[in-house]
Structures are given as C-alpha cells and as structure tokens.
Amino acid sequence: MPLWTIARLTLREVARRRLVVTVFILTAVVLGATAWFFWKAPSFACSNCSTAELYAGVSVLLILVMYMFSFVIALGAVFLAAPIISGDVESGVAQAMLPRPIRRSDFVLGKWLGLAGMLVLYTVVACGLELAIVQLTTGYAPPHAARTVAYLCGEAVVVLTAGLLGSTRMAAMTVGITVAALYGLTWILGILGAVGSALGKPAMTHIGTVSSLILPSDALWRGAIYNLEPAAILAMLTSGPKGAAAANSVFAVAAPPTSAFIVWVALWLAAMLALCVYSFERREL
C-alpha cells in the first residue's frame, strides 16, 4: 500500500533528523526540572498546607506546565507540517516519486498519517510522563488525565492538518508563519470568548465560538484544561462571582467542549484532509 509506504517514510524522515534527538533531550530536561519543582513545591510555598490546599496549588501549576506542552506540541506540529509537501516539491523529491503508480492522495494522506502518528506518540509519552511525575512527587492526579492527553493530541493534529493544507500550495516559511499566527490569534479569541461567556456578553462569546469553528486548536486546549481542573476550581468558576471566572479565563474553563463540537472537529479534520488532497491533486509540478 503506497499510503503506508509514504507514512513509514515520513516517520523515518522525522526520526532520522536531529529534531527528534533535540526534542527528546529538551523534553527530558523539562520533565526533570518539573519533577524537582513539584517535589520541592510544598516546602517552597506552604509547608503547613493541608492536602486540599496543596492539591489546589499543584492543579493550577500543572495547568501551566501542560500549557507549555500544548504550546510546544502545537508549534512542533507547525514546524513539521510547513515543509512536508512544499519542501519535497521544491527539492524535486515529489517529481521523482509521483510519476510512480501512486495517487496524489496516498502522498498527502501518507505524510499526514506519519506526522500525526509522530505527534500523538510524543504527546502521549511526554504528557503521560509529566502527569505521572506530578502524581509521584505530590500525590495529586487530575480528574481526567487520559481525556486531557486526548484533547492535546486533538490540538496537535488540528494544527498539523492546517499546516499540511498550506504546504500543498505555499512555501514552508509562509505556511509556518501563517499557521503559527492563526494559532496565536484563535488562542486570543478563545480567551475573549471565555471572558464574554463569563460576563454574559453574547457578541464576545460568538467571536470565540466562530474562531473555534475555523481553527479548533484553542477550543481543544480548553477541553484539556477543563479535564485538568479539580472540583474546587470548577465550583469557583461556575458558582463564584462572575468577575472571578472572567479574570481566570486564560487558564480556567468553566464548561467542557460540547459533543456537537467534538463532532465538528471530526468533520473539520475530514473536510480539511479532503481539501489537502484536492489542492495537491490540482497542483502542477
């Protein structure tokens, strides 16, 4: 199957580049640093805290650490996706491969599959280790660790797919800058939407909703946050003063993504992949 041949080739390509070793070392450094930090956290902040107070503090810190992972994974997806097709077209690799009896869709989807596999593997291993470290050092476990990781994987795949679409037509640099900017923009608009819903301002809420429909990366990250929040934080967000929820909109989420939104993400991915294939099939090489 040419699809699997291309997917395996893409995995091998990423694995043979220095990128993987670099990311592996950086991730190990981050995991080590956070392990030390969470181990020492009680003595830094509150040596006389109750377990509940400690967990409340750790849960907030964990969301911040996971935000860093979310950012790294999303940017990693941009960097991996941006040159994945345009690079092969510019170098002439695609011109040598595509006259073989393979479909353009095999080429595009195989590359997507290889990169998505790589990103999901990294997300599961790195975030899984981080959550395990927190539990081992502090005893705290977020309410839905597996769902958190699943949302982060979804975020990575969404950004990857947006980058892939750009890569079927534009130069790597253009794609990288465009998708990174869109990712940042939807992050800001997502916060705006969250503030809007906390304060009951429908216009602001709509902006957030529309941006999450166009590029669902931030909304998926918000799904990850929701699943990291212990009951105490959720109670504060949902029944506390409006201002508190609004002020915490950057790293706190009051409600999980709806199932309609999850269906939307699945449709969005399918439609974007179809568009990637359509766009590359029409490209003259």
């Binding site: 041949t5 690799v93 491969m97 595509l98 009896p101 003259e284």
Partner: protein, 330 residues
C-alpha cells in the same frame, strides 16, 4: 458522411494509440498566458529509441511531464502504452528520470532505490534483486550504502537513471539524462540505452545534446516553440543524400571531369568533394579513381549532421552562435 469520416479517423487514432508507445494528438499546455506546448502531435513506435530535441524552452520537459501525469494538458489528447495519460496502472510500466529531481538525501542509494521499487509496486521478492541490478547497471554498486546527500550531481543522475530502470519498464522516459555527467558517464548512458533497446524497451530521450541523440536514436522529433518542426527516422530528418570527401593526388582535370556522373564535383587544395552521391556508389568511385591513376589518402563520408539540420530547421545560420549547442566539458 462527414460523421462517418470523423468516426473512421477517430478509430484510426485509437488504433495507433493502442499500438504505439506514445501517441499524442494536438497536445497542448498553457500556463496562464504562456504557451509551453502548442499542439504536439507525434507517434513513438514501441521498441525504438526516440530522440526529442529542441532548444531550451521548446516545451520538451513540459511534454514529458504531461506524459507521466505531473501536469495536465490544457488541450489535445495523448496515450502512453495504449492508455490515456494519467492512468495510474500504466505508470507501473514506465520508468522516468526527471530533469530536475532529488532523492531523499538522508536515505542511502540502496534505500532510495528500494523505496522506488516499493512505490513502483514491484513484488517484495524481486525488489532487492532489482535494486542490486540497477545499482550495478549505473555503476554505483560500490556506493550503495552511502547516503544520497553525499553524492555529486553526476552520481545523483546515475542514481536517478537506476531508479528509472527498476522493474524493467516497457517505456523509459529520460529527461536530459546526461546533463551532469562527464564523458565517461555519457558513454555509460549510451550503453545503457542500447541495452534497453536490445531487450525491447522503448526509450524516449529528451536532450539538447545533438551528438548524443545522433549516436543512439532510431527516430527523432525536433520541437521548437511547442511545435514539432521535423519528425522521422534519422535518415528522414537528416536527408538520405550524402556527400563524400576524398584526399586524392595524381588526377588531372580531364580525369576529374570523368567522375562527373557520380555527383556534383568540387576540388579544393587536394580534396575532392562529391555531393549527392549514393552511399553504395562510394566504393565504385574509389575504384574508378584508382583505375584513372589517382592515389587515395582519405575517404570521408559526410552525412549532414543532426546539428546542421537542427539549426537549419530553427532557421538560424549554421555558424551563428547558439546557446543550446552541446557543451562538452572535454
């Protein structure tokens, strides 16, 4: 009546399309306002080495890209090995060396060929044998485990040629296969092309190196500005009439005049040129000169070269400088 004739013509086209290796009818390609190829009509018979010649920008590469499905025609039709262009299954039987290409520079030569053998749909059992034989054919057997990134341009071209031979395709399209090669490499490529022809493979050779085409091709098409300006066997295109040039001493004027019936005579500083002589008559001519008491030091049959003809077809004086002349580094 007109409809019947049209149908007949269409049936004839399909018949040719089915039997030829490549058949195109008014094949055209426009990129926006630029016409890269305007109405290319040609037939490449199976089993022949076909030279596709033209100056830079004549549309040669565009034509090949259309044949292998890298680009889509904006007008006309074409068939490759009996199937309409773009047919995926047919591409199993085609080998292609692009003009500008790279292989993944992080793969070894062996891995790059193994990848192409896999993409070509070769059965797993024969892939490694095909790779080994391709490496040997293009002279890279000793470099099989080196990374493509360490290869010179010429070695990459050899590798590309090797990839185009994988799976013993029925049709091999080579787009400027020797552009980066030294004279030894060029000689090797000619030998590979001859071996392909010997086993019945059709070779479509895109080149601006006329001397090369002249040495290996059975048939040529000369394209200029997207049109075929001449097509046929080498003899058709070059013209069968040839001339012969001899260095002769010991003949006086009446003796020379006696040779008039062999062709148009011209003498110049010890050289005698006879134009329009049939090649079969040359031994008789030499015999006649010797019987008239002449001493023959040299006999040079002079065929009109492809380059002369090429320049003539492109309507340039033969001695004007042109940028598409062969640029042998030697």
């Amino acid at each position: 009546m007109a409809v019947a004739l049209e149908r007949e013509a269409e049936a004839a086209t399909l018949e040719v399309a089915a039997s030829a290796a490549v058949h195109t009818v008014d094949l055209g390609k426009r990129y926006g306002a630029i016409t890269a190829l305007a109405g290319l009509s040609m037939t490449v018979p199976r089993g022949e080495v076909f030279g596709f010649l033209g100056p830079n920008g004549a549309g040669k590469t565009t034509a090949v890209k259309l044949l292998v499905g890298l680009a889509r025609p904006t007008s006309g039709e074409a068939w490759v090995l009996g199937a309409p262009i773009g047919d995926r299954e047919t591409r199993r039987r085609i080998g292609y060396l692009p003009e500008l290409f790279r292989y993944q520079d992080w793969l070894t030569a062996r891995e790059a060929l193994a990848l192409h053998a896999e993409l070509a749909g070769l059965p797993r059992a024969v892939r490694m044998d095909e790779v080994v034989s391709a490496l040997a054919t293009v002279g890279l057997a000793a470099r099989g485990d080196d990374r493509v990134g360490t290869f010179s341009k010429g070695m990459q071209q050899r590798l590309g040629l090797g990839a185009s031979l994988l799976g013993k395709p029925e049709l091999v399209l080579l787009d400027e296969p020797t552009s980066a090669l030294d004279p030894v490499g060029r000689h090797d490529v000619r030998e590979i092309i001859r071996a392909l022809k010997a086993r019945g493979t059709t070779v479509f050779l895109n080149s601006h190196l006329l001397s090369e085409v002249e040495q290996v091709c059975d048939r040529v098409a000369i394209v200029n500005e997207g049109h075929v300006v001449a097509m046929g066997t080498m003899d058709d295109v070059l013209g069968a009439a040839s001339s012969v040039r001899l260095r002769v001493t010991g003949l006086d004027a009446p003796a020379i005049a006696g040779l008039r019936h062999y062709g148009d005579l011209a003498t110049e500083a010890g050289w005698l040129t006879i134009r329009g002589i049939d090649a079969e008559a040359v031994p008789d001519l030499v015999d006649a000169i010797v019987r008239l008491g002449g001493r023959v030091y040299a006999v040079e049959p002079r065929h009109q070269t492809l380059e002369d003809r090429f320049l003539q077809l492109l309507e340039r004086p033969a001695d004007a400088p042109v940028d598409h002349r062969p640029t042998d580094p030697a």
